[in-house]
């Protein structure tokens, strides 16, 4: 016999007129190797088909199952229930638009971020699809692999006080995103061009250094290092440009 789990779920459907936010308890039996993702599916199957939550990959790749588990943003599919007490709470991520219950819309937020951060390779090279792909140095490929692991789950946005109180802040994920392009030699943007995108309070200089992102990233991306690198790089870009008399604004 496994433990008896009591999962206290946030319930609220903004689309039902008059619906009120509340917590609802579900009791179920734990079994070997159970993840919260499995537990929530059990609830939906056996106890309450109306419970809303998101998942796609159940393997910590798609980033859709992030939620507040006992107050901390984590991936439901990567959280073993045995690491939790027998009674715990699950709530939707803050910051993002609530779709219903545990489901939030991270898509709009991230789409907006990609546009603002211009998160794509900027190059003037014409793509020749007959030519062999240019080889990348192994060291650089490995360096890029780190920030590239971000699955846009939104945990680092949800646990950041700055992102919670300042809606325009691009968050750790946004700065990490830019870091990924900064170190990619294929991106031909100058530091001044990067500066224009994130050399401001909504970008790298808005970070207070609370490091919840670094402590709670489900993919364990070294965010402290990456964020500090971008901050130094952007400060250098900003200061140097004055020195050379080039205006960026």
């Amino acid at each position: 016999m496994g433990r008896q789990l009591t999962i206290s779920c946030f319930r609220y459907n903004p689309n039902i007129p008059g619906d009120k936010p509340r917590m609802q308890d579900y009791k179920l039996e734990e079994y070997e190797g159970m993840t919260l993702f499995v537990a929530l599916n059990d609830i939906r199957e056996k106890l309450d088909p109306t419970l809303m939550f998101d998942f796609v990959c159940r393997a910590a790749i798609c980033g859709s199952c992030a939620m507040l588990i006992n107050g901390r943003p984590r991936l439901a599919c990567k959280t073993m229930t045995r690491t939790l007490p027998s009674r715990f709470t699950v709530m939707p991520l803050p910051v993002f638009k609530l779709i219903g219950d545990l489901s939030v819309d991270t898509g709009t937020w991230f789409r907006d971020l990609q546009v603002r951060a211009e998160a794509w390779i900027h190059t003037n090279k014409k793509f020749d699809f007959n030519a062999l792909e240019v080889r990348m140095d192994n060291k650089i490929a490995e360096d890029i692999y780190d920030p590239e692991q971000c699955i846009e789950c939104g945990c680092c946005v949800a646990n950041c006080i700055t992102a919670n109180i300042r809606p325009d802040f691009i968050g750790s994920t946004g700065i990490n995103r830019l870091y990924r392009f900064l170190i990619d030699p294929r991106d031909e943007r100058t530091d001044a061009e990067y500066y224009e995108v994130i050399g401001n309070e909504d970008g790298t200089f808005g970070c207070v250094g609370l490091m919840a992102c670094d402590d709670m990233c489900p993919k364990e991306i070294p965010l402290q290092e990456n964020l500090a690198y971008v901050r130094r790089k952007m400060a250098a870009a900003g200061l140097k440009l004055t020195f050379q008399g080039v205006k960026i604004s």
């Binding site: 907006d112 490091m211 500090a228």
Partner: protein, 238 residues
């Protein structure tokens, strides 16, 4: 966030360099203040070695106009720092509520520490003003005057019930801890934001330094009370 609003306003917005300068200035003001604070505490702690050393140092600072220039410069620096750093503090009620709720819900160490930094900042702000007012009101600063002040009790006035309480020692202990906490973790945050070091190790190093400085401060306060006890009654000070 609506996409349309941000597409129109954010992408096309020209920021210039103000944000960079302000952020840099905040960190620089922090580094200068913590440098000042640690140096200040080392100077005060010379009392533990001997009152003569304390007096020599104090007279030296006066003679070469280091105190006369240093004190106004530090006051100015604190004012600048308050203006720069307060932009980051949750000042709206709504922001305070979010900050408190998030910190409590996540129970995340560094986030709580930051809340502590903001709260201790308020203590430091008020107490530094009182501290400056008092020491400048009894210039110059010498071992005996400081000892008498630290050890003084009050109000001992009949209209107040003739009770005495060591207000100053309590004031200084709270001030010392609030100041070191605010500055020590402030430096930690600056290094986290800009530096290369792994923050857990760095955090322990800074906590170590902070504990040593607080220890020195307590030792200095204790020495002052001992000196005061050996002074002739009635407070003839020299």
């Amino acid at each position: 966030m609506e996409l349309a609003k941000n597409l129109q306003t954010t992408i096309n917005r020209s920021y210039g360099k103000t944000d960079l300068y302000v952020d840099l200035a905040q960190s620089i003001s922090g580094v200068l203040l913590i440098g000042f604070l640690w140096m200040h505490m080392l100077f005060v702690a010379t009392i533990v070695v001997s009152p003569e050393l304390f007096n020599t140092l104090s007279e030296g600072l006066d003679r070469y106009y280091l105190a006369q220039v240093g004190i106004p410069a530090t006051i100015l620096l604190i004012i600048v720092h308050i203006f720069l750093a307060l932009r980051r503090a949750p000042v709206r009620l709504r922001d305070m509520r979010i900050t408190y709720r998030m910190a409590k819900m996540m129970n995340h160490y560094d986030t709580w520490v930051w809340v502590g930094q903001v709260v201790s900042a308020l203590f430091v702000g008020v107490m530094a003003s009182i501290h400056l007012w008092i020491i400048l009101g009894a210039w110059p600063l010498r071992a005996a005057t400081s000892a008498a002040r630290v050890a003084s009790t009050g109000p001992a006035d009949a209209t107040w019930g003739a009770f005495t309480f060591p207000f100053f020692i309590v004031f200084y202990v709270i001030f010392l801890i609030a100041g070191e906490y605010h500055g020590g973790f402030g430096l930690y945050r600056i290094l986290v934001k800009w530096g290369w070091w792994e923050r857990h190790t760095m955090g322990w190093v800074l906590k170590g330094i902070t504990v040593i400085i607080v220890g020195l401060g307590i030792a200095a306060l204790y020495t002052f009370t001992q000196i005061a006890a050996s002074l002739p009654a009635g407070g003839v000070i020299h």
